[in-house]
């Protein structure tokens, strides 16, 4: 499971990071009219295994240690680099996502790619597989550290803040009929609870209840609020709106009873299960409503078993 997550994270990072972030900017280059024997000193002194061949600022080829060894074997040390280099090498753009580079390494099996600017095609760096790994490890370390700090701070909130009673309230404003953002408040809230160090099983239950309450506000009202109150012994979800109200609460609580119009049902909502779901995944639920005035739903989950 942990392995799966880190794999995912790395994939995510390869989309987030650019070639520019991983490349080495200080590139050693050679010119096409230099002789092969010039490479000998460079390779010995600077310890590199291949180099872009640059003419007037543009990359025209790539010369590698393998090319050099071949020339050495055949006694062709005075030949010009341009005769032995790989011409028009595959290059990467500095602004490409790193995932493109990963794919190109797989596709071509080369050891390195020159990195150029998209505009002007000027050489700006070079990228090896090792550079990608270094960059990913560094980024992972930084992010891991940041998340640790976030989680540490959040999960100690109830211990660090001394009061007779501590209560953390998170409030989310819900826009009516905004189906594109439906579920967003529940997602945010789930992340927040996770950071607070709440048990995953409880976070899951709260997330279901919050999602259903959020959807109800979106489907049936012009908007409202979803808030969650966390204290050391329980989490309380409150969903309130000022609109149209529920005529018969007992009926609304019946499984499959729904007043949702067809177009809402076509999106998969309005199955008449929302309130039942909330009831089933929380320890207490209370619904108060007045037609024309609004509805307030309150649901409680106890953190240490029901008290």
């Amino acid at each position: 499971m942990t392995e799966d997550r880190s794999f995912t994270k790395i994939q995510e990072l390869t989309y987030e990071l650019r070639v520019r972030d991983a490349m080495v900017a200080d590139v050693i280059t050679v010119r096409p009219k230099q002789a092969i024997h010039d490479l000998r000193d460079m390779m010995r002194d600077k310890g590199f295994s291949g180099s872009p061949v640059v003419d007037k600022g543009k990359v025209v080829g790539l010369i590698s240690i393998e090319d050099f060894i071949k020339c050495l074997a055949q006694g062709e040390m005075d030949v010009l680099i341009e005769q032995k280099m790989t011409r028009d090498p595959v290059t990467l753009y500095a602004d490409e996502p790193l995932v493109h580079a990963v794919k190109k390494f797989d596709q071509y099996g080369f050891g390195r790619f020159p990195v150029i600017e998209r505009n002007g095609r000027k050489l700006v760096g070079i990228l090896t597989k090792g550079d990608i790994i270094k960059c990913l490890l560094k980024k992972l370390e930084v992010e891991y550290h940041e998340e640790e700090i976030h989680r540490y701070r959040a999960s100690h909130i109830f211990e660090d803040i001394v009061a007779d009673k501590t209560n953390l309230v998170l409030r989310y404003d819900i826009t009516g009929k905004d189906f594109d953002r439906a579920g967003q408040a529940a997602s945010e809230l789930k992340k927040a609870l996770h950071r607070l160090g709440i048990q995953p099983e409880i976070v899951r239950r709260i997330a279901i209840a919050a999602f259903e309450a959020e959807i109800n506000i979106i489907v049936f009202t012009d908007g409202g609020q979803l808030s969650i109150s966390v204290c050391s012994e329980r989490i309380t979800i409150t969903a309130s709106d000022s609109g149209p109200g529920i005529a018969d609460i007992e009926q609304a609580m019946q499984p499959s009873f729904s007043t949702a119009p067809d177009w809402i049902r076509e999106m998969g909502f309005g199955a008449g299960m929302g309130l039942c779901n909330i009831k089933n995944c929380t320890d207490e639920m209370n619904l108060v409503s007045e037609v024309g005035k609004g509805t307030t739903l309150e649901a409680v989950v106890y953190l240490n078993g029901k008290s």
Binding site: E12, S187, F211, M267
Partner: protein, 115 residues
């Protein structure tokens, strides 16, 4: 079974190339009612549906499902797929109907959840 094996064996089209297919599938659930999925699907399930609205991503993410198989040749809009990639929820497409794909998943050994 890993999701990527299912993708290969059932010839599913992965509509979210950036999402992670290297995850274990705990079972399957088929439904077009979001609240039903919220109530009855389990973590790691592959979800068979014909819904293509953005909210399927929210549901799959909240329930930590392994992925969504969209049936009947339907395809979610690009913004939905982008959201799916952002949440790392694989969305897979098939021209088959829900009944047929569920049957083939069962043949591969993917079962429904038992109480």
């Amino acid at each position: 079974m890993k999701l990527k094996e299912i993708v290969e064996k059932l010839n599913l089209e992965v509509a979210t190339p950036a999402s992670d297919l290297d995850r274990d599938v705990s079972g399957g659930y088929a439904s077009d009612l979001l609240s039903d999925v919220m109530a009855n699907s389990r973590e790691g399930n592959v979800w068979v549906t014909m819904q293509i609205h953005q909210n399927i991503i929210a549901v799959a993410s909240l329930k930590e499902l392994a992925g969504i198989v969209v049936v009947n040749g339907r395809k979610p809009e690009q913004k939905v797929l982008a959201k799916a990639e952002q949440e790392n929820i694989p969305v897979m497409l098939t021209g088959l109907q829900a009944f047929e794909i569920a049957g083939r998943l069962c043949e591969l050994g993917i079962r429904g959840n038992t109480k």
